[in-house]
C-alpha cells in the first residue's frame, strides 16, 4: 500500500509536469502548425528570472508570479521578433527557427550569466516530507500535483468558457475561417504564445522546486519529454497533450519501480522503445491529429 501511494504520487507528479509542458507546445502548434523547440528555454528563462528576483530580495511567491508572467512575455517576444516575420512560411522554416532561438538563448545564458548551476533557495514548506499513514511523500511532489492540477483546471475553464479561449480554439480549428468571423490573428497568436510561456513557467516552478537550481540547459530534458508527450498524445487537441503527458509519466514511474537498481539507467531507453512501438500502431497519437495542420 505504502509503495502504491508513492508510485501514484510519482505518476501524477511526472505526468502533470509533462502535461503542462506538452499543453504549451500544443497550444502554439494549434495556431502555427509547428513544434516550438525553444519551449524548454522558456523554463530556463523562468528559472533565471526567479533566481535574480530572489537575489533582489523579492518575496518568494511574488517572484514566482512575476517570473511566470515574465516567461509568458518572453514567449510573446519570441513570436513577435522571430516567428511573425516568417508568418505564412512552411512550418519547417518555423521549426528550424525555433532551433536557432534555442541555440542563441543557450549561448546568452552561458556567456551572459554563467555556465554553472545557480542555486535557487526553496522555501521551507516545500522541502522535507509529510507522512500519510505510514507513507512518506515529499512535500515538493504534493505541491507539484496540487499546482499542476489547479493550472490544468484553470486552463480548461479558460479555453471552454472565456471569449478569448473560444477564439483560440476556433482559430486552431480553422485559422482562415476564424479570421473571416473577425478573430484577430495577431492577437490569438500572441495569446497562444503567452499561455505557452506561462505554462512553461509553472512547469519550471515545479521542476525547480524538486531540484533547487537553474542552469543554461535546464529546459532541455523536460522539453524533449514534452515533445514526446505531445506527439504520443496527438497534436490536434489539448486533451491529447494531457493524455500523452500522463501516459509518459506513468511509463517512467512504472519502469522506475519495476526495474532493478542496476538497470534503472536504461529507463529512458525502455520508455522510448515502448513509445516507438506505440507510434507504429498509432502514428497520429492517442487523439488523431488533423490531417492538414500545416499553414
Amino acid at each position: 500500500m505504502a509503495e502504491f501511494i508513492q508510485y501514484l504520487v510519482a505518476v501524477l507528479n511526472l505526468g502533470a509536469i509533462y502535461a503542462l509542458l506538452a499543453l504549451g507546445l500544443v497550444v502554439v502548434f494549434g495556431q502555427l502548425g509547428f513544434l516550438n523547440f525553444a519551449h524548454g528555454d522558456l523554463m530556463t528563462l523562468f528559472g533565471y528570472a526567479l533566481f535574480f528576483m530572489i537575489g533582489w530580495h523579492t518575496p518568494f511567491w511574488l517572484a514566482v508570479l512575476l517570473a511566470i508572467i515574465f516567461a509568458g512575455l518572453c514567449a510573446v517576444a519570441m513570436e513577435r521578433i522571430a516567428f511573425r516575420p516568417l508568418r505564412g512560411r512552411s512550418p519547417m522554416t518555423l521549426l528550424i527557427t525555433s532551433f536557432a532561438i534555442s541555440g542563441a538563448l543557450h549561448v546568452i545564458f552561458q556567456v551572459g550569466i554563467s555556465p554553472r548551476s545557480k542555486p535557487i533557495p526553496i522555501p521551507e514548506f516545500l522541502s522535507g516530507y509529510i507522512t500519510i499513514g505510514d507513507v512518506f511523500v515529499s512535500r515538493a511532489q504534493i505541491f507539484t500535483v496540487v499546482v499542476a492540477f489547479a493550472s490544468l483546471i484553470l486552463l480548461r475553464l479558460f479555453l471552454a468558457h472565456s471569449r478569448l479561449g473560444i477564439s483560440l480554439r476556433a482559430s486552431a480549428a480553422d485559422f482562415d475561417v476564424a479570421r473571416v468571423v473577425g478573430i484577430q490573428a495577431n492577437r490569438v497568436i500572441a495569446l497562444a504564445f503567452f499561455l505557452s510561456g506561462a505554462l512553461a513557467g509553472v512547469a519550471a516552478l515545479l521542476w525547480i522546486s524538486q531540484r533547487g537550481a537553474v542552469f543554461p540547459a535546464l529546459g532541455l530534458t523536460p522539453m524533449i519529454k514534452a515533445l514526446i508527450a505531445a506527439i504520443i498524445g496527438g497534436l490536434a487537441n489539448p486533451k491529447g497533450a494531457l493524455y500523452g503527458g500522463f501516459l509518459l509519466g506513468a511509463l517512467e514511474a512504472t519502469l522506475l519501480f519495476l526495474l532493478p537498481d542496476n538497470l534503472v539507467v536504461f529507463r529512458d531507453a525502455a520508455v522510448l522503445l515502448l513509445l516507438i512501438i506505440f507510434l507504429v500502431f498509432r502514428p497520429n497519437g492517442i487523439i488523431a491529429s488533423n490531417p492538414e495542420p500545416m499553414r
Partner: protein
C-alpha cells in the same frame, strides 16, 4: 451596397479572375453561376481578403476594402459561409456561434444568438454537440447561422448546397429564400443553376474567369445560352456538383 469593379486575381502565372465587375444592391439576392473552375470561389475569397487581388476595386457601402485585413471585414458587415462549410469541428455548436459573434458586444451577442437559434431550431437542439458530429445539412445550417451572428449588411454564401442530399438541398434553398425575404442582402455562388436562378433577383454567369452574361434571374433562366450551357440536360443540372 457591394460593388466590385475590374477585379483581377492570379495564382502565380495563372489568371483565375480576369477583370470582372458586378454589384449587389441593398436587399438583393444576387447569384454568380458557372461551372467548376470558372473563378467563382476565387472571386468570393478575394472579396473576403483571403486571396490577394492583382487589380480592381471592392467597395462595401462606399468604403473601399483595399488594405482592410480579413479579420476587420466582419466588423464592417461582410459575412461569409465558405465552400465546404468549414465549421469549427472540434467546437460545440454554441461555441461555433460564439466565435461567429466574437466581434459583438455582450448584449448584442445575446440578442443575435436568440434570433439565430430561433431561425435554426435544429441548432438549438444540438447546441452542446461538437460541430464535427453534425450531418452535412446541419453543418451547412451552422455555417450560415455562424455567418448570420453579426447581422451582416452583406451575406456571402459559397456553394451552400454542395455535397448535400437532394432533400437537404431544397431545404437550404428555402432557408436562403427566407433570408432574402427578411431583408438580408445576399451574394450566392452556386453550381445548382436552376435552383439559384429560381430564388435570385439577378444573376451573373461566369466562365473561365470572366462574366459572360448578366441580368434578371428569370430572364437568364430563359436565355438560350444559359439554357444550353447549364440547364440543357437534366444530368448537367444535378450532375456537375
Amino acid at each position: 451596397m457591394l460593388v466590385v469593379s475590374n477585379l483581377c486575381v492570379s495564382y502565380g502565372p495563372v489568371a483565375a479572375v480576369k477583370g470582372i465587375s458586378f454589384e449587389v444592391d441593398s436587399g438583393e439576392l444576387v447569384t454568380i453561376i458557372g461551372a467548376n473552375g470558372a473563378g467563382k470561389t476565387t472571386t468570393l475569397n478575394a472579396i473576403m481578403g483571403l486571396v490577394p487581388i492583382v487589380s480592381g476595386n471592392i467597395v462595401l457601402k462606399g468604403n473601399s476594402l483595399a488594405g482592410v485585413p480579413v479579420e476587420n471585414r466582419a466588423g464592417m458587415g461582410l459575412s461569409f459561409s465558405p465552400e465546404g462549410r468549414r465549421v469549427f469541428k472540434s467546437l460545440s455548436v454554441i461555441d461555433n456561434l460564439r466565435a461567429g459573434g466574437c466581434t459583438l458586444s455582450r448584449s448584442d451577442f445575446d440578442r443575435r444568438l436568440g434570433s439565430v437559434l430561433e431561425q435554426f431550431p435544429v441548432l438549438r437542439e444540438r447546441r452542446e454537440q461538437d460541430a464535427g458530429t453534425l450531418s452535412g445539412g446541419e453543418q451547412q445550417m451552422l455555417a450560415i447561422a455562424r455567418a448570420l451572428m453579426v447581422n451582416p449588411t452583406c451575406l456571402i454564401l459559397d456553394e451552400p448546397s454542395l455535397g448535400l442530399a437532394p432533400k437537404i438541398v431544397t431545404k437550404v434553398f428555402e432557408i436562403i429564400a427566407e433570408l432574402r425575404a427578411s431583408g438580408v442582402t445576399i451574394l450566392l455562388v452556386e453550381q445548382n443553376v436552376k435552383k439559384s436562378l429560381a430564388i435570385a433577383d439577378r444573376a451573373y454567369v461566369m466562365e473561365l474567369g470572366m462574366i459572360v452574361r448578366s441580368g434578371p434571374a428569370d430572364e437568364l433562366a430563359d436565355d438560350q445560352f444559359v439554357h444550353d450551357s447549364y440547364l440543357g440536360t437534366g444530368s448537367r443540372e444535378s450532375g456537375n456538383g
